[in-house]
Symmetry: C2
Subunit: 215 residues, 2 copies
C-alpha cells in the first residue's frame, strides 16, 4: 500500500511534463497523442508513460494514441488545475510585469489579482488591468483578498523579508523567481524557478546536435 | 555500443537537473553532496544518480558524498558550460529586459551582447549596459557579432518571422520564451520555455502537502 502510494505520487509528479508536451503537440494540430511520443521526448519507457497516464482513467487506442483534448482535460481535472486560483505578485519590476501579462496563466487557472511594489510611481497604477499596491500593505491586503499563492519577483536582497511578510499574511505557496533559497515554515510550499535550467537544456541540445549523439 | 551511447546520452540529459540541485545545496552551505539527496529530490534511484555522475569522473566518499565545489566544476566542464557563449536577445520588452538583467546567466557563461527591438524609444539605449539595436538590422548585426544563440522574447505574433530572420542571419540555437511552436531548419535547436510548468509544479506541491501524500 505504501509502495502503491509512492508510485502514484511519482506518476502525479510527471504529469505536468506530460501535459506540457501534449499541449504543445495539440497546438501543432495533433488530435491524437502516442504514449511513445511522450516517452521519447522525456526519455522514459513507453510502459512508464502508459502507466502514469492510466491514473487519469483515459485509455489510448492502439496505434492511434490518446485523444489529445480529452487527455488534457483529464489530466487538468485529475490534478485540480481546472480550479481557478488567485495569486498576488510581490515585486512589479520587469519580470513581475511580464508575468502579469503572461496570458497562458489564465489557461492554467492562475489569476493574478494584485501586485505589490515599493516604487511610488507604480503604486496606484494598473498593469494589464492588475492594480499595484504598496508592499507595506501586504499584511492587510493579502488576508482581505483571501489569496494563498504569491509569486515572488522582488530583488534578491529583499526576498527573505518579503517572503516572511507574505507567510505572516497567510500565503502558503510561494513561486520563487529570486535566487534566494527561502526559509519558510513547514506548512508553506516553495517552487523555485531558475532560468539557468532552460539555458542548460539549450546547451545540451547544441552539444548533442554537434556530436550527433543519439538522443 | 549503441546502448552504451544512448545510456550516456541519458546521463548527460539529467546532469543539468543535478547541477541545479547541487548549486542550491552549495548555496545553502553544503560542502559535500550525497547522491541520495539528489536522488530524493528528483525521485530517481540512488544507483542511477551515482551512475550518471560517474561520467564526470568524480567519485563520492562513502557516507560523506561528493565534494560540492569539485563536482560543480566537473559537471560544468564535462558539459562545456565553462565556455563563455555570446547571445543576442530579440524583443526587449519586460521579459527581455528582465533576462538581460538576470545575473545568474553570467555564472553559466551566457553573455548577452545585444538586444533587438522595433520600439524607437528603446533603439540606441542600453539596458544593464547592453545596447538595443533595431530589429531591422538583425541580418547585418548578428553575423558581425558572430553570435549563434538567440533568446526570443518578442510578442507571439512576431515570433515566427523574427525566428526566420535570426536563422537566416546565422543563429543556430533559439531559446524560445514565446508560446509559438517555431518552425526551424533541422540544423537549428530550439529550447521552449514555458512558465506554466513551474506553476504546475507549485500546484503539485500544494496538492501533496494537503493530502499528506508520501513524496
Amino acid at each position: 500500500m505504501q509502495n502503491l502510494k509512492i508510485s502514484a505520487a511519482f506518476s502525479i509528479r510527471r504529469l505536468p511534463s506530460y501535459l506540457h508536451i501534449i499541449r504543445n503537440l495539440r497546438r501543432e494540430g495533433e488530435k491524437y497523442i502516442l504514449g511513445a511520443a511522450i516517452a521519447r521526448e522525456l526519455h522514459l519507457e513507453s510502459i512508464q508513460v502508459r502507466k502514469d497516464l492510466g491514473i487519469t482513467g483515459i485509455k489510448g487506442k492502439p496505434g492511434k494514441g490518446y485523444p489529445a483534448e480529452v487527455l488534457v482535460d483529464a489530466i487538468e481535472g485529475f490534478l485540480g488545475w481546472n480550479i481557478p486560483r488567485d495569486a498576488i505578485i510581490a515585486g512589479v519590476g520587469n519580470l513581475g510585469s511580464a508575468l502579469i501579462g503572461y496570458e497562458e496563466f489564465q489557461l492554467n487557472g492562475l489569476n493574478i489579482v494584485a501586485g505589490f511594489d515599493i516604487d511610488p510611481e507604480k503604486i496606484g497604477a494598473a498593469i494589464h488591468g492588475v492594480p499595484v499596491l504598496n508592499t507595506t500593505t501586504i499584511a492587510i491586503n493579502v488576508p482581505l483578498l483571501h489569496v494563498k499563492i504569491a509569486i515572488l519577483t522582488v530583488p534578491d536582497i529583499y526576498a527573505q523579508d518579503v517572503s516572511d511578510t507574505l507567510v505572516d499574511a497567510g500565503i502558503n505557496a510561494i513561486w520563487n523567481f529570486t535566487n534566494t533559497q527561502l526559509r519558510v515554515p513547514s506548512h508553506v510550499v516553495v517552487q523555485n524557478e531558475d532560468f539557468s535550467l532552460g539555458y542548460d537544456m539549450l546547451c545540451i541540445k547544441m552539444r548533442s546536435k554537434r556530436s550527433l549523439m543519439v538522443y
